[in-house]
Amino acid sequence: MSAPTDTIALSPEAIDSGAVAPAAAEELHAPRGVLHDVWVIARRGLIHMKRQPEALSDATIQPIMFVLLFAYVFGGAIDVPGGGNYREFLMGGIMAQTLVFTAFGVAMSIANDRKNQAVDRFRSLPIAKGAVLGGHAVANVIKSLLPIAIMSLTGLLIGWRIRSSVVDAVAGYLLMLAFSFAMIWIGVLLGSLVATPEGVQGIAFVALFPLTFIASTFVPVSSMPGALKVIAQWNPITTLSDALRELFGNPNTPVRPGDPWPIAHPVAYTCIWIVGILVVCAPLAVRIYSKTISK
């Protein structure tokens, strides 16, 4: 125990106890199943979250700052068409933006795993197929509960209220969880295609971040010019924001004649995107992920 810290400092006698002897065939451990392995890896993800509060800030501090910024700085200059309290309009958008950043968190974990060669360590272990990605997915859904709770509390503090039925409110929260689950696979795809944490950060800043602004997140789409308006109207972040406003009974942009289908049916359109991402993106992400780690 008094050995210098930079040496192997291990005497052969110390391990002569047999504690490192190879296992006999009958001592091998039977597989405990995919759920066990997924949970072990998810627990690691949650410990990472606990130990890396700075990486959590995009899911905690940042949305709070956006709420305060828009509610108190810009909010006064923004009118909600059809009337209504801007702060209540804002919350659906902020929640949607926060959920989109789930993808960023996942992509960072995947890129970090590759950087630290954790991927190789896991792959040399007898773990169930898909357990590593499953573990990331579970950890990140749990992780996304935190910003959802923080957003709800911040909203309550600035005057946001759920004004709909219990069923609609529950549907709103379920929609958030489902969207966050879909975002995980975008994150896996991004983390697999972009190998480094720095690269992931770059992409998030030039692609993900603007996408959350060309939407009804903070301002009504109707105020945007031509092409931008069309992009925003078909942007699922717009419809997620609108869907949450609808489900929570908050002020929403009124649907005008001539508005495209997504604007008139935000819940349905958002669900189509969620299903689409899960059907198309998830298998693709898994395939690209397995390809990139097994070279």
């Binding site: 192997i8 400092a9 291990l10 047999g18 190879p22 690691r44 630290n116």
Partner: protein, 325 residues
């Protein structure tokens, strides 16, 4: 399934695009023995380890570890092996104990078994005091120790160590060697890669010398050294003027052409008779009345081995291995 070979590989080929990292390699390691894969960076050592540990698929060829096919029975292989990669692959955000418990659980131990095992290994690798510290604060030596402990969590039958002593100080290296001796004494089969003939000689029953993805020589250290002309005797003279006479004298009592470095006043010549050869040189030089500052017997370096085996100096081709490290 019952084989006396813990590792058996035939014609392993791995191509990255047009480049062959492995170009038809055969490996056979009898159970309970140590084989060293000796070669420079870029020779294909890491690629071979990655294929044998199921991390990478071979482009062609076939390999079994502990009797199971690495390509089709990967999980069976993984249950029986431990891998210490070139860089310690421990989780920087987890504590030492959490790392070992997680790996134990992923080796399908129960949580309580994994915890007990972690405590044992931390104790044996003198990491108990640092057990609750996050490993990003560990020193290089501590990370290596934890990495090796992690490799041993499931009591592997076959251990793969990719350049285990690179970056360790001599004392740490000696201690690691002693640990490996113990493991071998307990029946573990080990395949390790190294750039040092000395290390291969010290640890391995059998040595494969690889270069450009091919095995260019194999055998035990003695036969290998015989192939490269044995050890080297180095003479450092007090007076540079004596160099030529020394060269003439060494020709009579060593086994090859002496190499001269005039500014350093050294003459080096190969010998196949080890210490006896050294004694003969000492007597010859003393008899001629030459003043000798230093006289040494040392093993050929990897460079000298390569020079002899390939007739060319090591082509330091680092790109290939770095590309996928």
């Amino acid at each position: 399934m019952t084989t006396s070979l813990a590792i058996e590989a035939h014609g392993l080929v791995k191509r990255y695009g047009a480049k062959a990292a492995l170009d038809g390699v055969d490996i056979s390691v009898p159970t309970g023995t140590v084989t060293a894969v000796l070669g420079p960076n870029g020779a294909g050592k890491t690629t071979a380890v990655r294929i044998l540990t199921t991390l990478s698929d071979a482009t062609a060829g076939h390999a079994t570890v502990a009797g199971f096919d690495v390509a089709t029975q990967a999980t069976d292989v993984r249950r029986r092996i431990g891998l210490a990669a070139q860089d310690a692959t421990i989780d920087p955000l987890l504590t030492g104990r959490e790392n070992l418990v997680m790996i134990g659980e992923l080796h399908q131990l129960s949580r309580s078994e994994a915890k007990a095992r972690a405590i044992d290994l931390l104790e044996q690798f003198t990491l108990t005091d640092a057990a609750e510290q996050v490993t990003s604060g560990y020193s290089g030596g501590m990370r290596r120790r934890l990495d090796l402990a992690a490799t041993l969590v499931a009591r592997p039958q076959v251990l793969f160590l990719d350049e285990p002593t690179t970056g360790l100080d001599p004392r740490a290296r000696n201690e690691l060697w002693a640990v490996l001796d113990t493991l071998v004494g307990q029946g573990t089969t080990i395949l390790l890669t190294t750039q040092y003939l000395e290390e291969a000689d010290r640890l391995a029953d059998d040595i494969l010398v690889v270069d450009h993805g091919k095995v260019i020589a194999r055998g035990d250290a003695r036969s290998l050294k015989r192939q490269v002309g044995g050890d080297n005797i180095g003479v450092t003279l007090v007076d540079e003027a004596d160099v030529d006479r020394t060269v003439d004298l060494l020709r009579t009592c060593t086994d090859g052409d002496p190499v001269v470095d005039r500014p350093l006043r050294t003459v080096t010549a190969p010998t196949s008779s080890g210490v006896a050869g050294l004694a003969e040189v000492a007597n010859t030089l003393a008899g001629a009345g030459l003043r000798v500052e230093d006289l040494s017997l040392r093993q050929p370096t990897l460079d000298e081995v390569f020079l002899t085996l390939t007739g060319a100096a090591i082509d330091r081709d680092d790109e290939l291995e770095e590309a996928h490290s």
